[in-house]
């Protein structure tokens, strides 16, 4: 199975600042999904990122707030911009390829 790492694993940030979360996979994957899990809630898809194309955002999420990069098939970043306390969540990347899907360990973000 693939090894997925996310950095940082957790962070405490001030409102108005931005944080970039990195997701690294030890093998090439076709698609990269980014999910958010707000406290006590289920997972909600933020966007889908494929290499070489713009990320596709779900309803309620916009590129200006959550810009995503996918420079190659093993790496992706999600930035949470102009943060507010409502952005306090766990952010998970989900590398997916064919019949195989993984979830990263998550980045736990607290915005004060």
């Amino acid at each position: 199975s693939a090894v997925i790492s996310q950095k940082p694993s957790r962070d405490i940030c001030q409102r108005g600042t931005s944080l970039t979360i990195q997701c690294q996979v030890d093998s090439q994957v076709t698609m990269m999904f980014w999910y958010r899990q707000q406290p006590g809630q289920s997972l909600t898809l933020i966007a889908t990122a494929n290499q070489g194309s713009e990320a596709t955002y779900e309803s309620g999420f916009v590129i200006d707030k959550f810009p995503i990069s996918r420079p190659n098939l093993t790496f992706s970043t999600l930035t949470v911009s102009n943060m507010s306390p409502e952005d306090s969540s766990i952010y998970l990347c989900s590398p997916t390829s064919g019949e195989t899907q993984y979830f990263g360990p998550g980045t736990r973000l607290l915005v004060l």
Binding site: L43, L45, L92, T100, F103
Partner: protein
Amino acid sequence: AQSVTQPDIHITVSEGASLELRCNYSYGATPYLFWYVQSPGQGLQLLLKYFSGDTLVQGIKGFEAEFKRSQSSFNLRKPSVHWSDAAEYFCAASFSGGYNKLIFGAGTRLAVHP
């Protein structure tokens, strides 16, 4: 709209008792269905999945799930629960085929009494 419903927010069972967690999906065609477990402070782990074929699927850790098209359900079962099964369980569906974007249910938190 596409949705996944887990009617039970919390369930408490005694160790050794049987367990059934409910999951219903809403859509015209049969989605691909998954059950995940999330232990406190841990990541998501796939328990089992259903794409097609035999409607009773076996997973890891002694779990199984049965797909019932007539009820739009995919309930998770375990005949004898262990204390280590205490966790949050999520049912999820892919309405776009295969491992595509997933819609998650709200989750069921399982507590196990000794």
